[in-house]
């Protein structure tokens, strides 16, 4: 099973919604790649500039209820189009989280204190994360220090990541 890793983009706010991740006016795009330039365009977060802050990032670390609001799978697609396939948060909105696993991406949920520990040790970076869905091990480091966490993944979620997504899984089974 693949591991998920890369440079971290820190988004220090709770309740980041899918309208902020990808505004509805871009939902007329049918190709996923076309969403790439618009990721986090409407994010309300002081100091954040999508034009400069997204480059070279593969992982997001954020707070509670990430991806709330609309069901649009365009939100994880816009992340994926930018090379981001791992989000670490203290909580996710249900549909967004399911969409990530359905696309074979990885949503890692940690306790708020653990997320706080990552923010205080590494934000604003540069820092890297490596998550292994097989072992449930997450390592965050900046070359000098590192923190290690274990995370819970349901049997079903692990199966989805392994299968590459829900369509692949369901197609074999139903």
């Amino acid at each position: 099973m693949k591991t998920f890793s890369g440079n971290i983009l820190f988004l220090d706010r709770s309740d980041i919604n899918t309208d902020e991740i990808i505004p509805a006016k871009y939902l007329t795009e049918i190709s996923r790649q076309a969403l790439k330039p618009y990721l986090l365009e409407d994010l309300k977060l002081e100091g954040f500039n999508p034009a400069t802050d997204l480059a070279g990032k593969q992982v997001i670390v954020t707070r509670a209820n990430f991806g709330c609001g609309s069901s649009r799978e365009h939100a994880p697609w816009a992340l994926e189009a930018n090379g981001i396939d791992l989000v670490i948060a203290s909580g996710f909105a249900r549909i967004f989280r399911q969409n990530m696993f359905n696309c074979g991406m990885l949503a890692v949920e940690l306790a708020p204190e653990q997320i706080e520990a990552i923010f205080s040790a590494f934000c604003p970076g540069p820092a890297q994360a490596v998550a292994d869905p097989q072992t449930g091990r997450l390592v965050v480091s900046d070359g000098e220090k590192s923190l290690e966490f274990s995370f819970e993944l349901g049997e079903f979620e692990r199966a989805l990541v392994q299968a590459g997504g829900w369509v692949e899984y369901a197609d074999k089974r139903y």
Partner: protein, 430 residues
């Protein structure tokens, strides 16, 4: 052990349990619109699996941007249209017959107590008003639903919210749900189902229950649910009269879905609305809620009456009652979008449309339009809208725009005042 409404529906629909906590449910209906469905159709085609599990259980509509505003939205409509025709999907609602999905599909009798329903739209939770388990999903879940007629869910815990007391005159279902979200927060019901009950819900008609359940997702809920009762039966009677010998017989059947007295809830909340006043949001999250009285005078540029939350006949009636014989303030513009052609027709017959036009409002065809900033009333940077919609997220109605979520009564009163204002319906009772 006693069961909640959602647990009963789960128990009767499970086809697989791939792990301890995950249930794959058989779907009674899959609803589709032109924003989230085309990517599913394209992916199925690319996989060589352009099939549907049962065309009679798929209901499809073009509603988000209609009539098409440009080539891209025209293409989305065309993909839907071609797909519906190719697969013999009879219940496809094209331009002229189309309306906002969560108003149109119940009106057509497509939602029944005990049903499992998914749609690539977060406000699918609206249909729980009929005692169904209806959940918004992403395109991949929708795609598997279209192909296989199943969807996977974690067994949700249920939060029971009893709405008690007596709703004051001039205070509406929208004010109730805003106050509930203000109380439990945008993350207050994440991964849970909210079962709404209590005397105030029992008194609500189906439109009001839909308003209530519609915004359950704004608290993070998978679905809002109201247990079916005689009000449900009466609404559905034209559609189910072939199946039952009497409304009472239908009710007896539907009452099997009522929560057991010893059902286990994650949490039980009693929400007394006797002292509730009209509510409005003030920030960029739906739980930032205050009484309209505290926000009275807040400047607005636009008023929007419509959407799957509040674009139904009862909503138009309340607004028209307030606007009758008056002109909206010249500082603001008002857009009215009846949610379905049937609602539009009834509003015409009742003279509501004439009231809106004479008041100086623009009446548009049924569409989701401005609610998500896609068409028909998008805001300019720095503009503010009092809207009867469901989300006040930053940029939702247009980049740099701001939304105050309100009831139709508050929307109409604000249009007259030119700023956020309580309606006379509320003041009369004070």
């Amino acid at each position: 052990m006693g069961q909640t409404v959602a647990e009963k529906i789960f128990a009767s629909h499970v086809v697989d349990q791939p792990s301890k906590e995950v249930f794959v449910l058989r779907l009674d209906a899959v609803f589709c619109h032109e924003i989230t469905t085309p990517p599913a159709i394209m992916d199925l085609m690319a996989r060589g699996k352009d099939r549907v599990f049962d065309p009679s259980r798929i209901k499809a509509v073009i509603d988000h941007v209609t009539p098409a505003k440009d080539s891209k939205t025209a293409t989305q409509g065309k993909i839907m249209r071609d797909w519906a025709h190719r697969h013999g999907i009879g219940d496809f609602f094209d331009i002229g017959r189309n309306g906002v999905c969560h108003a149109l599909f119940p009106e057509q009798g497509f939602v029944r107590p005990g049903y499992t329903i998914i749609m690539g739209d977060s406000h699918t939770c609206t249909h729980g008003a009929f005692g169904a388990f209806a959940a918004g999903v992403g395109t991949t879940d929708l795609e598997v639903g279209i192909l296989k007629g199943v969807c996977a869910f974690k067994k949700p815990q249920t939060i029971r919210i009893d709405i008690t007391g007596r709703l004051p005159a001039g205070v509406f279902a929208k004010d109730v749900i805003l106050s509930v979200i203000g109380r439990i927060g945008v993350n207050g019901a994440t991964d849970k189902v909210i079962e709404f009950g209590g005397p105030v819900v029992r008194e609500m008609d189906m439109e009001e229950r839909m308003t209530l359940c519609n915004m359950a997702v704004e608290a993070g809920a998978t679905s809002g649910i109201c247990a079916p009762d005689m009000t449900t039966v009466k609404y559905l009677w034209p559609f189910v009269k072939q199946e039952f010998e009497s409304p009472e017989a239908a009710l007896r059947e539907y009452l099997h879905l009522a929560p057991d007295p010893d059902a286990t809830y994650d949490k039980v909340i009693t929400h007394d609305v006797s002292g509730l006043s009209p509510q409005a949001t003030y920030g960029y999250k739906p739980d930032q809620v205050r009484p309209v009285a505290e926000l009275e005078g807040t400047p607005i540029d636009q008023v929007y009456l419509g959407s799957c939350t509040n674009g139904r006949l009862g909503d138009l009636r309340v607004a028209a009652r307030i606007l009758a014989g008056k002109r909206i303030n010249p500082k603001v513009r008002m857009i009215v979008s009846p949610a379905t052609p049937q609602i539009f027709t009834r509003a015409l017959e009742e003279g509501l449309i004439e009231t809106f036009l004479k008041a100086g409002a623009c009446v548009t065809n049924p569409t989701c339009g401005a609610c998500l900033g896609m068409s028909n009333g998008v805001l300019a940077e720095g503009e503010v809208c009092a809207a009867t919609t469901n989300r006040n997220f930053n940029g939702r109605m247009g980049k740099g725009g701001m939304i105050h979520l309100v009831s139709p009564a508050t929307a109409a009163a604000s249009a007259l005042a030119g700023h956020l204002a309580n309606s006379e319906l509320y003041r009369e009772e004070k």
